[in-house]
């Protein structure tokens, strides 16, 4: 039984690759989290964030169907939602203003992400 570090936490998953999104959904669910999404496009992600009253953490893929996900990141920052980037790119592609955001390089270690999110949302 995995550690249920995300019990009752609402976690948003933004990832355009179905298989990866599904893997994250399963792993976050196993850790006790309530998964919002997954969604795979920038507009879907923005709409979901605006709609949901409660988001306590997020996993955000940097590239969504060829589009950079930075508007989504901006909205999460504005809402004060802690999140991690997942990326297959070099660091240089991520703007300076997100330098404090943790990056997980693809292929991502799903268990690692679950652990990181667990620590991020503690006490929120």
């Amino acid at each position: 039984m995995p550690e249920r570090s995300l019990r009752d936490r609402h976690i948003l998953v933004v990832e355009d690759e179905y298989m990866l999104a599904d893997e994250l959904r399963c792993a976050l669910g196993d850790a006790g989290g309530t998964v919002l999404g997954p969604v795979g496009t920038v507009p879907d992600a923005l709409a979901l964030i605006r709609r949901e009253g409660r988001i306590e953490g997020a996993v955000l893929d940097v590239n969504l169907r060829g589009e950079m996900a930075f508007p989504v990141a901006d909205l999460l920052v504005e809402r004060g939602v802690p999140f991690v980037f997942t990326t297959g790119y070099d660091e240089s592609i991520i703007p300076e203003r997100f330098s404090h955001i943790l990056r997980c390089e693809k292929p991502i270690a799903v268990d690692g992400i679950v652990g990181v999110l667990g620590r991020m949302v503690v006490g929120r």
Binding site: D16, E17, Y18, M19, L20, A21, D22, E23, P38, G40, N63, R65, G66, T87, G88, Y89, D90, I93, E105, K106, P107, I108
Partner: protein, 499 residues
């Protein structure tokens, strides 16, 4: 000098007397003293002419006869009068030009002067600068022409070399599209070559070249750094090497690459800067494209590894034992490899077409089968991002059909038909795929054939999620029926229509 002696009608300082003049003067002057002075004068004159010129010569009034010529080692001597001088000294193709100048001198009784080629002592061609003056009697008739010439061969060859080298340089600068500048730092005066004007977006001569005219075109974001770099180079005595953007009046932005060098006076003050610059916009754009491609490749590769890993997890969960896992996993990896193969063979702007994809998947799974019917337009191009997921879904359908359906049972039939239609509010083109199996002995209704779970998930979940596809998957009484509709990009369609 007697007033009525032979006169040189002009340039009398250059050649005042010759031996005949001396002889006629001798008749006028009386006494041995006078003769002695004359001889001394003649000696001085000879020494002077011999020292000053490579050639001295004397021609008859109408130049038909050469009375004598002394040519040192430059051209051969003529010691007795000769009418063959033209052929002897002047190459035939230059003779008309020489005769022309001679004719003009005779007609005007004025100095003959010409730079022309001559046949040298060793038979090769050289260049002479020749002048001759008419010696006239008191009544103005020309007695003879006295001439002297210099060997200017080396000078001509040097000039020729210089001209050639200048031409080479100019042509290199023009072909290389180099814009040159030469800046007098002390006075502020600047020279620009024509190309320099053009590189800065000026018409040639449109402005007075100046430091300010240069900075006026610099891109606002690059201006401060570019000027600072110039000052640094000036102060440090280093070469100025910099890429900067300029904005042309039409708003277009060009990248220029400039290199320049400063020159300093004895006190170390910069007095001059020269340099060249080149438009490198195309190279920059190409570099940007490369960067995007490399980043894209990284992104795809890493995603692909993620897909492979999650595929392994899923296959492991659905497998009964290790050998079952091995067979299924290898199968799926092969599908991924085939897709990568299709994609990697594409050139830029190329796309994988749907008919290529379906044929490649079916033949990989089932080989050539007369139980399969394919119908639809050829050349429907798929976005590269679409190909992988669609191929995986088709692969699962084909594998299941081989194991439990139309491709595995003698009476089974498979028809795959597709069409391209526009619909929706934006009139976007969609590709409709219809997978219909028939004549299949299906398990009792409600019982799903074993092993179809992953294929179903791909079609019902992954395709809508990843490609915004609309899909259906039904177990009809005599076989699986599946429909997949995916939006195709407009450009893909346009490319298609023009292909």
């Amino acid at each position: 000098m007697p007033e009525k002696g032979p006169q040189v009608n002009e340039h009398s300082d250059a050649v005042r007397v010759d031996t005949q003049m001396l002889a006629s003067q001798a008749e006028v002057l009386q006494g041995a003293d006078a003769m002695a002075r004359l001889r001394a004068s003649e000696e001085r004159f000879r020494a002077f002419v011999t020292a000053s010129f490579d050639v001295v010569y004397c021609m008859s009034p109408d130049w038909s006869e050469m009375r004598f010529l002394r040519g040192k080692d430059f051209i051969a001597d003529t010691m007795t009068p000769s009418r063959r001088w033209l052929a002897k000294y002047i190459p035939s193709e230059d003779q008309p030009q020489v005769l022309d100048a001679v004719g003009r001198a005779i007609a005007t009784k004025s100095v003959f002067e010409l730079e022309h080629r001559v046949i040298r002592v060793d038979g090769t061609l050289g260049w002479a600068h020749s002048r001759a003056v008419p010696m006239m009697s008191g009544d103005g008739a020309v007695l003879e022409w006295f001439g002297a010439a210099r060997d200017v061969t080396e000078q001509k060859l040097a000039e020729h070399e210089l001209r050639k080298s200048e031409e080479r340089l100019r042509s290199a600068v023009e072909v290389g599209r180099l814009g040159l500048w030469d800046w007098n730092v002390a006075t502020g005066e600047v020279y620009w070559s024509d190309e320099h004007f053009r590189l800065e977006g000026y018409g040639v001569g449109e402005v007075n070249p100046s430091y300010e005219a240069w900075t006026a075109r610099l891109h606002p974001e690059d201006r401060a750094a570019t000027e600072a770099a110039l000052r640094r180079a000036m102060e440090a005595g280093e070469e100025y090497v910099r890429e900067f953007r300029v904005v042309h009046p039409d708003g277009s932005v060009r990248y220029l690459y400039g290199r320049g060098r400063f020159f300093y006076d004895a006190a170390g003050q910069p007095i001059r800067m020269t340099g060249a610059m080149l438009d490198v916009t195309e190279r920059r754009e190409w570099e940007e494209r490369q960067k995007v491609l490399v980043a894209e490749l990284q992104h795809r590769t890493r995603n692909l590894l993620g897909v492979v890993r999650s595929m392994a997890d899923k296959t492991a969960r659905a497998s009964t034992d290790l050998s079952d896992f091995r067979a299924r996993y290898r199968d799926r990896l092969d599908t991924l490899s085939r897709v990568q193969g299709l994609l990697s063979r594409l050139k830029e702007q190329d796309r994988v077409t749907f008919d290529d994809l379906i044929r490649s998947e079916l033949s990989a799974v089932a080989g050539v089968s007369e139980r399969v019917e394919l119908a639809g337009p050829t050349g429907v191009r798929l976005r590269s991002s679409t190909v992988q997921t669609l191929a995986m879904a088709l692969h699962e359908l084909a594998t299941n059909a081989l194991k439990y359906g139309a491709l595995g049972q003698p009476s089974g039939r498979l028809a795959v038909t597709w069409s391209l239609e526009r619909h929706g509010a934006e009139d976007k083109p969609w590709l409709h795929i219809d997978w219909r199996e028939s004549g299949v002995d299906m398990p009792p209704s409600g019982v799903e054939p074993a092993g179809t779970g992953q294929g179903r998930e791909l079609i019902e979940q992954a395709l809508p999620y990843q490609l915004s596809a609309k899909t259906s998957y039904n177990l009809a009484p005599d076989g699986v029926c599946c429909t997949i509709s995916i939006p195709v990009s407009l450009t893909t369609l346009e490319l298609d229509e023009h292909a």
